[in-house]
């Protein structure tokens, strides 16, 4: 049954999209710090570079698990938010690529694309929820 909370399926507190997102962000920050300050070499460098992948995969799993617990209107809202984030990110990237070719933007960091998509997802979710209020 749906009770309006974000995670409808009973699970330990750490099996939650919010916690998993924090864990993923923590992995990204830790990976950057290690690569920048400790500067490991060889296999350790590869391991440090991929440090954020396991928590990010965990985040995807918790997100899918959360979606399975939603009702049909909530499914629609999440689908609209994800669609909005996806297509808007494409348009933004095309625009940024054009500006880079035009010499207006000197460096476009693709590594920040996921942050933009998360922001667009949150905006899309708020917009879609408002539509059905």
């Amino acid at each position: 049954m749906s009770d309006g909370s974000i995670c409808k399926v009973s699970a330990p507190w750490y099996v939650h999209p919010y916690f998993a997102a924090l864990l993923s962000a923590g992995g990204v920050i830790l990976s950057s710090l290690i690569l920048k300050h400790a500067q490991p070499a060889g296999a350790l460098r590869v391991a440090a570079g991929l440090l954020a992948v396991p928590p990010s995969a965990f985040m995807v799993w918790t997100f899918v698990r959360w979606i399975r617990g939603l009702d049909e209107l909530e499914h629609r809202i999440v689908f609209q938010a994800v669609s909005f984030a996806f297509v808007t990110a494409i348009v933004a990237m095309i625009g940024m690529e054009g500006l880079q070719k035009a010499g207006v933007l000197t460096k476009v960091g693709w590594e920040s694309a996921w942050e933009g998509m998360v922001f667009l997802y949150v905006a899309g979710y708020a917009w879609a929820r408002r539509r059905y209020r």
Partner: protein
């Protein structure tokens, strides 16, 4: 392009009020969120066929007593 779908009207708010149920109570009976019940009542969202049948079952058992195509004489 295919024919346009008929907008669907419903008597959910009336039927709920007759039984003295809150939106949250009805949502609990249906296994959906309160927002979903509200969106159906305000006709911002048309439920799926399985949910429409479940709504009918909770109230009367007949889907046409709850949902009618817009413009239908009933």
């Amino acid at each position: 392009m295919g024919p346009a779908a008929l907008p669907v009207r419903n008597r959910l708010r009336v039927l709920r009020a007759e039984r003295g149920w809150s939106q949250a109570e009805l949502a609990a009976r249906l296994g959906v969120s309160r927002q979903t019940v509200n969106a159906i009542e305000t006709e911002k969202y048309d439920p799926s066929l399985p949910l429409a049948f479940r709504i009918a079952e909770v109230f009367t058992g007949r889907i046409e007593d709850v949902f009618t195509p817009n413009g239908s004489v009933g």
